[in-house]
Structures are given as structure tokens and as C-alpha cells.
């Protein structure tokens, strides 16, 4: 614990110098293009920040790094953050980037599963590390029971017909399937957003207590990040160059076609759509629906309860 405090203190001192460690919640990919752009374009520096992007891995979640004090600020899937908060980790949302859900279930058209009712009793490939709340809530709301097959991350089991349906992100695995030679018209899709489960996903989180000392730095971070995303949207090929560079640095297989798809879809999710929301803002309605989903998926027992105001601390002015 002494070490932890020392580490935190060290971090604090860095933060005071404008140094921030930011950890995206997955390996480098176009999902985080805005952050790379903000660094490369010096938007963080313009706000007096020295941001270091340290990626999490498949084995260690960004929220764990935040909890451990290895990161000042992280991005995370909102329902994962809610779970952490319900588990007593005092983290707060300081900006919500994605306003929509990209989670979906795909089936092969040849399987004949073309309505959600037919998903009943079928095998669903689902990640072992999170993202299960929405599908669980979906099943509960529609009275469907599915055989959940936990998988690590590839779509291979689905391609080999080891499962009937697969939980995927529209911006990622859906395109991966397509990139393995399955045409879009060979797939049936079930977007959760079409089932009143349009739960926002990627947001920016920090520990509540760090707000006091680093609040202004976080505000600068959010502002520069939003600017980075805006710039990425306007200069997509440039943003993709940065993404590919990051992926190469991490020795990750990559191709521009897939990253371009991802960038487009991630940018689309940041648009308000029909929601009356500003960029970076978390709607109370969305938070409350997410809490409902969490409770449906996980129950309430053993979890702390908290409200919108406790969870959401908009660091940028005018977002509330």
C-alpha cells in the first residue's frame, strides 16, 4: 500500500506538471484515433498537458490500471465502469464520447435465424471479459435463453459454425467477419440499439478523488480529445496513418481497410443522432437505462447504488 501511495503521489506530482497517463480500454486501433490525433497535433500540449498513451492489454482492463493508479485517466465501456462503481471503486465519468450502442448479434443467414425469437436456445459466442450486460438484459427483456459460449476475441468459432450466433461490435468484429469472406448479405443482424438498448459505450473515466487536484487538467484533456476526434473526422486518412503507426509499434496485425471501417463507425457513434445530447455529454436518460440494464444483467445484491450526479462529473464546462 505504501508503494501504491508513493506511486499515486508520483503520479500526482506529474499531473501537476501537466503530465497525464491515459489508458485506452483496448489495444491500439481506430477506436482511439482521436487520442492519437490530439497527441500528434499537439492539442494536449496546447492545453498544457503532456499526455502519455499507455494501452491496456487483453489481460488487463483499463479500469484496473485506473484503480491501481497506473493511469490517471482511462477510456472504458460505460457498463464496465458502472460495474466497477457498483463494486465500490470510486470512479467517475468525465466525458461520454460514444452516444450509441454498436453491440449486436450476428447469425449466418443459412442458419435460418432471422428473427430474435429464433435466437432462443441457440449457442451465442460472447466475450469472456465484459460486454455481457446488454445481451443479458436483451435476453431477459425478450424472454430468450441462449447457451453462452465464452470466447476470447476471434470470430473463428463463429466462422467454423461452432456457435449459432456471435456477439460483435459493429465497428470491429462485424467487419472482421466480412473480411473473412462472408458477405454482408449472408448475415442476419440484430442491433441492440433497435431493441431499446442504445446504451452509450466509450467514455472517459478518472478516480473521483483525483478530480480535486487534476480537475482542470482533465477538462483540458477532454477538450483536446474532442478536438482530436473532430480533426480525425476531417482528416481520416491522416488519422488512419497514426492508427496504423500505433498498431505497428505494438506489433499488431493491421490493415487499413478494417481500420477505416472502424474509424467511420466510431465517428458515427459519436454523433448525437436522435438524442438531444452534446458531444462529450452523458445523458441522464442514457445513464438510467444503463443502470437498468446493469441491474437486469447482474442483479442488485452486493452492489452499491449511486446516481447520475455521482457517476457523471462533466469536466468541461457547459456539458452538463
Amino acid at each position: 500500500m505504501g508503494m501504491m501511495l508513493l506511486l499515486l503521489g508520483w503520479n500526482n506530482s506529474l499531473a501537476q506538471n501537466g503530465k497525464l497517463i491515459f489508458t485506452p480500454h483496448w489495444i491500439p486501433q481506430a477506436q482511439f484515433a482521436g487520442y492519437y490525433v490530439a497527441v500528434d497535433q499537439g492539442f494536449y500540449k496546447d492545453n498544457g498537458l503532456d499526455v502519455d498513451i499507455v494501452h491496456s492489454t487483453a489481460n488487463i482492463a483499463s479500469l484496473d490500471l485506473l484503480k491501481n493508479g497506473d493511469a490517471d485517466i482511462v477510456s472504458s465501456f460505460m457498463l464496465d465502469a458502472i460495474e466497477q462503481r457498483a463494486n465500490g471503486v470510486p470512479l467517475v465519468n468525465i466525458g461520454q464520447l460514444s452516444q450509441h450502442s454498436s453491440l449486436m448479434i450476428v447469425t449466418k443467414r443459412k442458419s435460418g435465424i432471422d428473427t430474435y425469437q429464433k435466437l432462443h436456445t441457440k449457442k451465442l459466442g460472447i466475450w469472456s471479459n465484459g460486454f455481457e450486460d446488454v445481451p443479458l438484459a436483451f435476453m431477459q427483456e425478450h424472454g430468450i435463453k441462449m447457451d453462452l459460449i465464452r470466447i476470447l476475441q476471434t470470430v473463428n468459432l463463429f466462422l467454423m459454425d461452432g456457435v449459432d450466433a456471435l456477439l460483435v461490435m459493429y465497428y470491429n468484429e462485424y467487419d472482421q467477419i466480412n473480411n473473412c469472406g462472408i458477405d454482408e448479405d449472408e448475415l442476419n443482424t440484430f442491433f441492440f440499439s433497435d431493441f431499446n438498448l442504445d446504451i452509450p459505450e466509450d467514455g472517459i473515466y478518472c478516480m473521483e478523488e483525483s478530480l480535486k487536484s487534476k480537475g482542470s487538467a482533465y477538462a483540458g484533456f477532454l477538450k483536446a480529445t474532442l478536438k482530436g476526434w473532430e480533426y480525425a473526422s476531417e482528416h481520416r486518412e491522416y488519422a488512419l496513418d497514426l492508427v496504423i503507426g500505433e498498431m505497428n509499434k505494438a506489433h499488431l496485425p493491421n490493415n487499413r481497410v478494417h481500420q477505416r471501417w472502424m474509424l467511420e463507425k466510431v465517428l458515427a457513434m459519436m454523433e448525437p443522432g436522435k438524442k438531444k445530447v452534446m458531444k462529450g455529454q452523458l445523458l441522464k436518460l442514457d445513464f438510467e437505462r444503463a443502470m437498468e440494464v446493469f441491474k437486469m444483467a447482474k442483479g442488485t445484491q452486493g452492489y452499491q447504488t449511486f446516481g447520475y450526479e455521482q457517476f457523471y462529473h462533466p469536466s468541461a464546462k457547459g456539458l452538463k
Binding site: 489481460n59 469472456s128 459460449i149 465464452r150 470466447i151 476470447l152 476471434t154 473463428n156 468459432l157 466462422l159 467454423m160 459454425d161 461452432g162 456457435v163 466480412n178 473480411n179 473473412c180 469472406g181 458477405d183 506489433h251 496485425p253 493491421n254 490493415n255 487499413r256 481497410v257 478494417h258
Partner: protein, 646 residues
């Protein structure tokens, strides 16, 4: 060169033909060569792909047997649990293609105390180490290499991956489910895997060389490039992302066929490489697929350079051919224009014109000889012609003289007897040829008789004219006071018949008019009957006699006939040249037309009358050639002492 010249035309035609012939031969050759190259390339592509697959399978197949054998060993309890690590290490050591091997157990199936156990032996440098794969951070139950064969209960070749522990080399894992027999039932117990480095695979595929830019490539079951000449594609791109990146939907289709395990040859047009053959075939063990790309551009490159060479040679050959043809043809036909010039000279009468010299013995020589022959024949002919012409001219001149003599033999001064007021007379003779056989004559006998005769000798020309001359001489000599017309005719007949070997004869009308009385005695030996005219009466034709012409039979009696002429009576005598004058349609003038002309002009003087009749005949024949002599004589009896002069 003049475009109208024969040499130009021959050269153009010859060259055109050569061009078409050459073009046709070249086209046939090109299509045939192209087809052959195409067929061979296609066969090569298939053969190359299949032999590469065979090489790959030669390595994979033995490796594929390892987990199967191991599964059998475990299932039959021949492997003691304590020696698992040692066994695995030995297995890796003994199989060079195997980088690592593992036996991963289902939860609690290795032992009831152990949730998970996955003994694993692997190469590390020259050593072979071992460890348990399981850790909370490495939950192998959800790893593809375990989960997929475990769920599908069948062997599984993993997607290729870069193994960080193995020095970042490209690897694949082959997983086989294994079973144990518990309580007489076969229970799925776990997965046996071997990791195989794919370096050898890359080497095999990369060693395939197809021209300059052709290549072979290998994709995994997901379409991921396992080998590709462009290293950045390997493990980064699938064939489908590549298809999207270069916007070639056809590549996506090929990719789908490939991961579908099809063997197929496709001819596709790629933006980067142009037309290419792509043949792909599956690798039976791993279900991966190998493709070979044959670029047309290079496939036909040899043919193309050959074509350029042939084209250049053809151009050179054609140029050479043109020059040589021009020279040969010009040389061969140059004499022709000289012949033409010579012909013109010859035509101009210069028969001594020098002919072009032709040395070789061919058609030109023949032409030369023919020209020479023509030249000589023409010269001869012209010489003959000159001779003939002069002979003809001589004859013509003689004939002209003969005609003069003949004309001189018949009286041709009118009025003939100005001192004979009782008689008005006019006669005319027009020969069809230079000399004719018609005759007329008149002369007084004593003081009061007037003899006249008209005749027509059979035949024409000189014989007829001679016969006519004889006849007219005989008539003159036979006529005297004491002889009647018939006696005159008889005498003439007798004389003419003697020695008339050529059987000529003459129709003859002889009349003696008594100027005092107007009595006309006449004898008609087969001649056209004369016409009696008077302006107060219709013309009257003399009766036809049956007496035959003179000169045929000597002993024939001719008889006299008599009639009295009134003063102003006219006698119109003529030969058959009048009545048998023909127009172009062979219609004869005839007696009726004669009578009509005489009727219309009966009041005219003898000269006018004969002129009018001649005019009528002329109008009738309308320019048609006169075939017979036309002779007319008109005598007006004016009565005693010419009392009644018209």
C-alpha cells in the same frame, strides 16, 4: 512513278498481295502461338500449384500424424502421467518440424485436484523446455486452439500467428481432440496440439517463380495472407481486405472460392497487373488455399518481342521486295514502251524503225519477233498494195477510156438532127458500173425513114459493154432501106449467135419510123415494151412480145409490127433499170410507177420527160445504190415536116 503505268499497277498489286498474304500468315501464326502459350501457361499454372501443394503436404502430413498417434497412446493408457513432460520433450526433439507440443486437459480430467493442466514442451534456442500452460491469465479453455476443436470435436488448424515466444516466427497450431475410456465410456478429455513453424512453408511458396511479377500466395481458412511477395500483406491483410483496398470485387470472389476449398482457374483483369490467370487449389490438410498468379503481359512477353522482330523483318523484307520488284518489273517491261514508240513510228510509215533489243528468250522476245514479223509483213503488204493500186488505177483509167469509147459509140448530142423537123428526141444512159451493157442508137435511113433501137445486154461490166459495142455496130451495119426491123434483128441475132461462147444475149427493140406517113415499124426481141404517149390520151404501153432476146438461138424468125403515129405522139423507150430500180427495202419501182410518172409528164418535151422520170426513180430509190444501167429514150413524132411542133 506514274500511277497509270503498268509497272506501278503490277508492283502495287504484287505488294498488296504480299502484304495480305504476309498479314494472313502472321495472324494465323500469332493466334496459334498465343493459344499455345495460353494453354501451356494454364497447364503450367495448374501444375505449379498442384506440385507446390504436394511439397507442402509432404511436410504437413507426417506432422499431422503426431497428435493423432499421441491421442491413441493416451486413450490406450500407454503413457504414464509422470512421464508426460519427458515424452513431450522427446516428441519435440524428434520432430524437427514441430516447434512445440502440448496436451491440454479438460477441467479436473487430469486429476480431481487440478482444475486445469496443459503440459507443454517447446523449443527455446537449442534447448527443449517444458511448463504448464495454464494460468489464470492464460485461460486456454477459451483459446481458439482449444475451444474450436473441443466444441467441434474434430481436428483444427489454427489461423497462422506470430509466436512471440518462438522468436516472432509465423506459426500455426494443429489441435486434435483426445479421449479416455472411463467406466466403459469414451470421454472427451482434452486437446493435443503441435505448433509448427511456417518458415519452411513460406520458403516453399516463395520459391515459386513465375516470370518477373507472377507469384504464388497462400491464404488461411479466414483468407489471411500467409505468404505473399508483398510482406506487408502477410498476417495483416486478408484477401478480402486487399480486394477492398484495391477495389477489385473479382478478387473477393476468388477469395471466397479459395476459402470454399475450390480448385479453379480464373482469367481476371486487375488494375495493377492487367490480365492475369489465377489458379487456386486447396491444401487438403489445413483447408488453406494456394494461388498462383500468371500475368498475361509477361506470359506473352516472349511472343511480343518475337512479334516486334517479325514486324521489323517484314518491313525490311517488304521494302527489299518493293525495290527488287520495281527493278525487275521495270527491267522486264521497259521494252514495252519502246515497242509502243516503235509501233507508233511504224504506223507513221517508218517501217525501218529500230526495234528494242531483247536478249532473253521469253514472251518479250516473242513480242519482239511478232513486231519484227509485223514490220516485215506491213512493208510487204504496203508494197503489194502499191502495186495493186497502180494496177487498179490502170484498169480504172482503161475503164474510163472504155466508157468514153462506149459513150462515144452512142449518139449523145441533142437535138441530134436539127434538119429533121419531124423528130424530137432525147436519150440518156447511166451506167451502174464504169461500163454498162445498155445501148441505144438512132439514125436516119434515107430521107424519110428514121431508125432507132434500145437494148440491154445480159450481165454487166466489160463483157457486157463489148457485147453492146458489137450489137450496136451490127445494128448500124445491118440497117438499110431494104431491111425491115425484123430482118435487122434477125441479122443481128444470127451474127451474135455465132461464136457466142459466153452465152450472152441482148434484149433489143428496133423501130423504123416513116417520117412522111408516121408509120412505125418495129421489132421487139424480149425488150421492155415502150410506151406510146400523147397529151390528149392516156399513155399506152406497147404489147408485150414473146420474141426471145437476140444472141441465144441463131435460127429464129422475128416478126414486124406496125402502128401509125399521129403527129405529137411520143414513144418512150427504156431498159429494165427503170422498172427494176430498188429502194432499200428491195421494192421495185415497177411499171405502174413508170406509167404514173409518164402520165403526169406526157405534155413535156423528150428531155424534160426523161429528166422527170429519172427524178421519180431517184426519189423512189432514195439514195439506194443503183444496181443496173438506166437507159431512156423518148422520140416525138411531129408529123410531116414537123408541122405540129410542140
Amino acid at each position: 512513278m506514274n500511277r497509270n503505268r503498268l509497272s506501278f499497277k503490277i508492283i502495287v498489286r504484287v505488294l498488296l498481295f504480299c502484304f495480305i498474304l504476309g498479314g494472313s500468315i502472321f495472324t494465323i501464326y500469332y493466334l496459334f502461338a498465343r493459344k499455345t502459350i495460353e494453354r501451356e501457361s494454364r497447364e503450367n499454372a495448374i501444375h505449379l500449384a498442384e506440385s507446390t501443394v504436394y511439397k507442402i503436404e509432404e511436410i504437413i502430413n507426417p506432422a499431422e500424424m503426431i497428435p493423432g498417434n499421441l491421442a491413441w497412446i493416451i486413450e490406450n493408457n500407454t503413457l504414464s502421467r509422470d512421464s508426460i513432460y519427458a515424452f513431450l520433450r522427446q516428441l519435440v526433439r524428434n520432430n524437427k518440424s514441430v516447434f512445440a507440443a502440448a496436451i491440454a486437459f479438460e477441467p479436473y480430467l487430469f486429476s480431481q485436484e487440478r482444475y486445469a493442466f496443459a503440459p507443454y514442451a517447446y523449443r527455446s534456442g537449442d534447448e527443449i523446455l517444458n511448463r504448464d500452460l495454464w494460468s489464470p491469465a492464460y485461460n486456454y479453455f477459451i483459446m481458439d486452439w482449444y475451444q474450436i476443436p473441443a466444441l467441434l470435436r474434430k481436428p483444427y488448424w489454427s489461423e497462422p500467428y506470430f509466436d512471440e515466444g518462438g522468436g516472432g516466427v509465423l506459426m500455426t497450431t494443429y489441435s486434435v481432440p483426445f479421449y479416455t475410456n472411463t467406466n466403459n465410456s469414451r470421454v472427451f478429455t482434452g486437446i493435443i496440439t503441435i505448433d509448427i513453424s511456417l518458415e519452411w512453408l513460406t520458403e516453399i511458396v516463395n520459391s515459386v517463380k513465375i516470370f518477373e511479377t507472377g507469384y504464388a500466395f497462400l491464404i488461411s481458412g479466414n483468407g489471411v495472407y500467409v505468404t505473399h511477395p508483398n510482406a506487408s500483406h502477410i498476417m495483416n491483410q486478408t484477401i478480402f481486405t486487399y480486394a477492398k483496398e484495391v477495389n477489385e470485387p473479382v478478387i473477393r470472389e476468388i477469395g471466397r472460392d479459395m476459402i470454399g476449398g475450390e480448385s479453379k482457374l480464373s482469367n481476371v483483369n486487375l488494375k495493377e497487373m492487367g490480365n492475369v490467370w489465377i489458379y487456386h487449389t486447396k491444401i487438403p490438410s489445413s483447408k488453406w488455399s494456394l494461388g498462383v498468379v500468371y500475368p498475361h503481359r509477361e506470359m506473352y512477353a516472349g511472343l511480343r518481342s518475337l512479334n516486334i522482330m517479325i514486324f521489323l523483318l517484314s518491313v525490311m523484307a517488304l521494302t527489299l521486295l518493293t525495290i527488287v520488284t520495281i527493278r525487275i518489273i521495270n527491267r522486264q517491261i521497259r521494252p514495252l514502251s519502246r515497242f509502243a514508240k516503235a509501233a507508233r513510228n511504224i504506223a507513221g510509215g517508218n517501217f525501218d524503225t529500230e526495234l528494242p533489243v531483247v536478249e532473253e528468250n521469253h514472251e518479250m522476245k516473242e513480242l519482239h519477233d511478232s513486231f519484227r514479223y509485223m514490220q516485215e509483213e506491213l512493208a510487204n503488204y504496203i508494197a503489194d498494195l502499191k502495186e495493186t493500186t497502180s494496177a487498179k488505177e490502170k484498169i480504172e483509167s482503161e475503164l474510163r477510156i472504155a466508157r468514153g469509147i462506149q459513150i462515144d459509140m452512142i449518139p449523145h448530142i441533142f437535138p441530134p438532127f436539127p434538119n429533121l423537123p419531124e423528130i424530137g428526141l432525147y436519150a440518156s444512159l447511166e451506167s451502174a458500173t464504169e461500163v454498162g451493157g445498155d445501148l441505144y442508137d438512132f439514125f436516119p435511113i434515107g430521107d424519110d425513114h428514121f431508125c432507132f433501137a434500145i437494148g440491154d445486154v445480159s450481165g454487166k461490166g466489160v463483157p457486157a459493154s463489148l457485147f453492146m459495142a458489137v450489137t450496136i455496130t451490127l445494128i448500124r451495119s445491118m440497117s438499110d432501106k431494104n431491111r425491115s426491123c425484123s430482118e435487122i434483128v434477125q441479122s443481128v441475132n444470127k451474127t451474135l449467135t455465132i461464136n457466142n461462147e459466153s452465152n450472152m444475149f441482148v434484149t433489143l427493140f428496133v423501130g423504123i419510123l416513116n417520117l412522111q406517113t408516121g408509120e412505125l415499124q418495129y421489132c421487139n426481141a424480149g425488150h421492155n415494151p415502150p410506151v406510146l404517149l400523147n397529151c390528149d390520151r392516156e399513155p399506152l404501153m406497147f404489147r408485150n412480145t414473146k420474141a426471145i432476146p437476140v444472141g441465144i438461138f441463131g435460127e429464129i424468125d422475128y416478126c414486124n409490127e406496125t402502128m401509125i403515129l399521129d403527129p405529137s405522139d411520143q414513144i418512150f423507150l427504156y431498159t429494165d433499170g427503170i422498172t427494176e430500180a430498188e429502194d432499200a427495202d428491195k421494192n421495185l419501182f415497177g411499171e405502174a410507177a413508170l406509167m404514173k410518172a409518164l402520165t403526169e409528164n406526157r405534155d413535156k418535151s423528150p428531155k424534160e420527160l426523161t429528166d422527170r422520170v429519172k427524178q421519180s426513180v431517184k426519189e423512189f430509190v432514195n439514195g439506194h445504190m443503183q444496181s443496173d444501167d438506166i437507159t431512156m429514150m423518148c422520140i416525138t413524132y411531129r408529123g410531116k415536116n414537123g408541122n405540129k411542133i410542140k
